[in-house]
Structures are given as structure tokens and as C-alpha cells.
């Protein structure tokens, strides 16, 4: 049975040391919103506030761990 589309999905790709990717995953995983969406791409799906809040923390963690570029794509209405 399908579910209603997520209010918001944020897909991100981090360029930088492995530590930056790991730091981002350490933050994204426990939110319960994260899944792999492609090679090097992680998606956060759910309520808009939850996704944006999680994304803020993920980006901060990645930058603090040395990320030098983070591509973020926000999409409305995707399957979570």
C-alpha cells in the first residue's frame, strides 16, 4: 500500500573528506528520515519542519568535519 507523498524531501551530496560524510550520517541516521538515494546521495524525507531542521544539523556537522561543498536539492511531493 502506498503512502501519501512526503511534504518535503532534501537530497544532499557532500564533497570533502570521508569524515565529513560520516559526520553527516551520524546526524542524519538517528532522525529516522534518512535513506540512500543514489551514489553518494542521501535523502531526508518527511514533514517540512523536520526535514529542514535535520538538514540544518546535517549541513553543520558536515561543514564542521571539513566538507568543502554540499549540493542540496529540495523536492516537494516525492515518495518518502
Amino acid at each position: 500500500m502506498p503512502v501519501p507523498p512526503a511534504e518535503l524531501t532534501a537530497e544532499y551530496r557532500i564533497a570533502g573528506p570521508d569524515e565529513a560524510v560520516a559526520a553527516a550520517l551520524d546526524v542524519a541516521g538517528p532522525t529516522g528520515l534518512a535513506r540512500e538515494a543514489g551514489p553518494g546521495v542521501t535523502a531526508l524525507s518527511g514533514d517540512r519542519a523536520a526535514v529542514l531542521g535535520a538538514l540544518d544539523e546535517v549541513v553543520a556537522a558536515a561543514l564542521d568535519a571539513g566538507a568543502h561543498e554540499i549540493d542540496v536539492r529540495l523536492v516537494r511531493g516525492l515518495t518518502p
Binding site: P2, V3, R35, T79
Partner: protein, 724 residues
Amino acid sequence: MTVEAPPKGGIGESVRRPDGIPKVKGDFAYSSDLWADGMLWGATLRSPHPRARIREIDISKALAIRGVHAILTHENVPGRKVYGLEIADQPVLAWDQVRYQGEPIAIVAADHPETARHAAATIEVDFEPLTPVTDPETAFDAEPLHPSGNLLRHVHIEHGDRHATADVVVTGEYEVGMQDQAFLGPESGLAVPAEDGGVDLFISTQWLHVDRDQVAASLDLPPEKVRITLGGVGGAFGGREDLSMQVHACLLALHTGKPVKMMYGREESFFGHIHRHPARMRYEHGATRDGDLVYVKCRILLDGGAYASSSTAVCSNAASFACGPYDVPNALIDSYVVYTDNPPCGAMRGFGAVQTCFAHEAQMDKLAAALELDPVELRRRNALAEGGVIPTGATIRSPAPVDELLASVAARPLPGPSPILPGGHSNTTHGESVRRGIGYAVGYKNVGYSEGFDDYSTARVKLSVVGGEPLVEVHTAACEVGQGLVTVQEQIARHELGVERVVVLPADTQVGSAGSSSASRQTYMTGGAVRLACEAIKEELARRGSGDLVELVGDDPIDVTREHHHRQTFPLDEKGQGDAHVTFAFAAHRAVVDVDTELGLVRVVEIATAQDVGKAINPLAVEGQIEGGIAQGLGLALMEEIQVVDGEVRNASFTDYLIPTVLDMPPVELDVMELADPGAPYGLRGVGEPPTISSTPAIVAALRAATGAELKRVPVRPDHIVGV
């Protein structure tokens, strides 16, 4: 316009289905029979490992094989690289790791199927095998297979007093194995590239529009450039709800510019679709000394396998129906589904209610024994009825004839000695160790989609005059998967419009979504949409005046499209409370078995069943659905299980995965009740799933009665019966 004398073939008649005789004679065109001039053949390279890292994929040798036109990997997926019905977590083609044996890694198009398969086998993949997570119990704390961990969903239901105590308490642990849908037509389809840059896909599936949306996202095409038409479907039972080769065939067709046909063999089919969730369940029932249920506590653990599929909804359904159709004042239910590296599991006929029905019915028998009560009497004493409240806090708003169903099956005359003994013509016994057993079970389940999903179906109905006679054309995207839906649509149109000549057009995405052929919902939803469209036509005819239908229509056809939505439902809250389900369907079963207690061989002598269908639109089709569902329930009781060892499937064939044949099926004594659901079109309920839900526990109860064995697991093996 008034329909004064409904024509032959309307609702309530046992109209014969158009595909019946062609299927019996082998003339029916399944999707595996599709053909296009100049088409190529697709093949899939799958992971041999249940869990591994992919270091490198080398296609160079395979690509050099004569006749190979394309080899594609994840790098060639132009759009979304993942898909899924509830959570898009499943790769179209794996990139850096595989999470289950059989996961697709690369696809090939070649001018001959053997060339395609040879090329797929020639692709070199450098794997680093990893230790798979295969035990759902330890998956909670195992290394995460997905970024947010291995717990996919937990549904907690708290109803009444969580600290309730009782005079008599029984506990039990139960297990259900991994059942396959075992549809007879393996996955197959044909993708044809179109001049507009899009693609036309002909496929056997259960929900055209959800397929289309997922395919379009992965192809990076607008949905209108992906046109899907239903091919001939050889059964589904939930196994075609998820994508199999839909994206793969389209990718290859668009890449090569040629039609591409893909067709799984039987072995590949076992890896190409999801299965029924294996379950481990722990139950505690408490009752008064008089036999009134006081509480039910249970923990349900479902193995979701590598990807989400429909797992979150199955988990919720298992929780919703964990107590069975009984008046349970206090319930504490925890249902979990976890990721593992086992084959992905998802929708299958019964959808979570099958697993828990096996457990709660075993518990009711155990409780009856503890109370020294008759098992049927205990069930009837606690039977849910209209106006009752289920553990999710929802009130049953339509007839819930649990007591009547049980009374019906219990009142049936018992069969005499069976002319066929366990072991059949193998002549393994002369009856010296054969014992007879009788068992009862009752179950229920939701009809349609739940938890707030805005479920609907669309029907376009056109009334015209052709050759001086009225003609009705019905166009929907509803998938005929063998349940008789084409006939039902014809019958409703005939009944509503009084026109005998009705044509149901091929199902495709050129009309609005019909939702899935699942959840026992299509007659309810698409039947409802056809009815609404017909009513709109009648309104237009009335506006045109009165008189002869042919004159009213003339050369100005009436063409209307309508959507049927069911009433709104709501998500469950943190305590599992909410009006989450549209309506319910109920059935009861009595099984009579003969058991060879020395060899553990079983002969099911007879199944008596009673089911409330609300309204039998086509009584013959209802009978077929009920008998088919019982066959699938018998399969789960006695023979059907995918054997998975360390994440690897050991019996991917119909030689080793056993399904009941006509020789295993007993006579079915059938009582069809028609207690109208006031909220449903014509009062009907879904028919397809209830027969599968309570037939399994009835058979196992009969085995227990014959042998005294505890039998906590299905399918029951001969060694379980003889205790070796």
C-alpha cells in the same frame, strides 16, 4: 431514464468471465506472450550474495558478445535511482552494495534471450562479501543496513487498561514462514520506445499509475510520456505491487531505440518480487473463569527483508487485527518490522492479518482448553459485533456477523470417512494410524487502504449508439489479475444502464488511476466508480427527456468520467488509536483433516466456510475467490515456505517450493452471507482476502485436535506432527 427490466448479465448473476475458457485451453495471451517486430530481449544480472560491497563492475567482455545491444548499470539511470511504494529505498540498479540475494545490478539487451542471459552472466562484478544480517530479532542492534537503522516501523496499540489482570492466563509463541505468492505467470513485459521520446510499456502488474509514476521518475520523463497498458496477468496476490523489471525494460528500450521484452523464468521470479513477511509472535490472553476475554498482550516481529516495500502498512495491519474479531476490552500490542538481508517482503493476500490470525486463533483454542470450554463456544461468547470497538478504538459501523459465521460452519454436517487417505495413491497407510481432527478459526481484515490514504478509483463510461443499438464502453485502469474484475464492471454497467452490450476497454494509464488490485478493494472502489459514472449518464439522459434510449442518445454519445472515493480514514496516534480503516470483511472456517500420525502425512478432508460478502455481485466469482483463497491458506498451513538459510534462498522452483494442486484441495462447503455494508456500493465487501486468513489456523487447529501436537509454526511439516 428508468431501467425497468435489467438486461441479462447484471449484478447478482453468475456471469461467466471472458478469460476463463481461453486460460483453461491455453489460448489466453499473457504478458509473456507479447511480441513486437525487431524486439530485443532483456536479462538481469543479480547478486549471488545476500550482502556484499560492490568494488567494480566490468561490462567490457559482455558488451563484446555478438548480438548484445546494450548493458546498463546504475550510471545509466537518468532520473531517480531508487523506488518504493512507501519509502523510496530500493535501487533501480545497485551501485556500491547489495542487500539481498538476487538484487539487480546490471541489465542487458540482446537479439536473443539466451544471448542476453549469457551476456549477463559474463559481466564481471568484484564483490566483497559481507556478513548478512538475517535474524530479525538481532537486527535491532545489528549494523544498520540503511542510514536510519534497521527498525522500519513500530506500531504500539494501547487499548483499555494496560495493567488488567485475569483469572485464567494462557501464553504462546508462534511463527509463520515466508510464503510466496506463487502466481503462475512469472513477471514479464514489453517496452516500446515512442517517437515523442517517451515509452509505451505493456506489463502484468497490479497498479498501472503507481508503476507509471515510479518509472517516469527513474527515466526522468514527465508521467505523460510513460504510457502503461496492462498485459495478460497470471495472478498477483500482492506480488506485483512493487516494480520488478518495469524500469529496466524501459531503460533498455529507450537506450537501444528498439522494443525490449523481459520475461523472468520461474527461478528468477522468486528473486524478482517480494514475499509474505515471516513473523514471530508472542501472545498472552487473559479471561474470566466464565470465558470472557479480559485482555490480550502481544509482540509481533516481522522480517521486512532488505527494502521497505509495503512493510510499514503490513506492520500496522498486523497490529490492528492482532486480537482477532473478538470483543477485547484491554489490549497491549507491539508490532515491529525490521530490515534484514533476507529477501524483501511486502504485500500478500491477507496483508499482516494472516500472520496474527494464526497466532490469535491458536491462543483461543489454548484458552478454551484451559477453561474446559468448547472452542467454538468460547469464540462465539467473545464475538465482535456491529457497534463493537476494536483495539484501535474504532467502532464497527456495519454488520460484523462473527457469531453467525461461526454458527454456520459449526452447524454443517461433518463429512464421513474419506475415500483418500493421507499419502494419497502412494498407499502409505491402510488407515491403521490415521486420526481425524476438526478445527475452527475466524478472522477479519480491513477492505481498502487505511490510515488516512485518500483512496479512489476512476471510471470513464461512454454510452453511444452503434449499428442502431446502444453500446456502453467502460474504461478504467483497474487491473484484472484473475479476480474477475472485467466481468464485474460489465455487470454493474448493465445493471445501471439497462444495456446488455457492454465492452470493457483495456486497462491503461490514458484514464485516471484506479488504485491497486489489492486490499480486497477493486470491486468496491472501481465498481463504485463505474456506478457513479453510470448514474451521471442516467442524469444526462433524464435531462434529454424521456423515451427510447437509442433516440435519446442518437449521434451524441454521453461520455463521463467519475471518481469514487471511500470515506476518510485517519492515521493511528502514538497509542495506536484512530479510525484508520474504511470497513472490514469477516470469514470463518472449519477444517476436517485426516492425519497419518506415524508418517506425519495429512489429508484435508473438507473445509466448511462462511463469509459475509455484503453483496455477491457475481456469485460464481465469489465462489472462485473463496476457494482460491482457501487453497492459498492450505498451502501456508501445510507446504508453502521459501527456505532461506543465511540469506540465501534454497528452493526457488516449483519442484522445491510446494503449492497445493487440485489433488490437495478438499471439497469446500460454502455459506455466502450478504449483510449489506451501508457505506459501500451495493453494500458489498471485499471477498479476496478473508478466505486466506482463517483457513490456515483452522487446518492447524484440526491437526492439533488429531495429534495433540502443539504445532506453533506454519507451514506444519511431517516431522512437526510426528515429533522428530
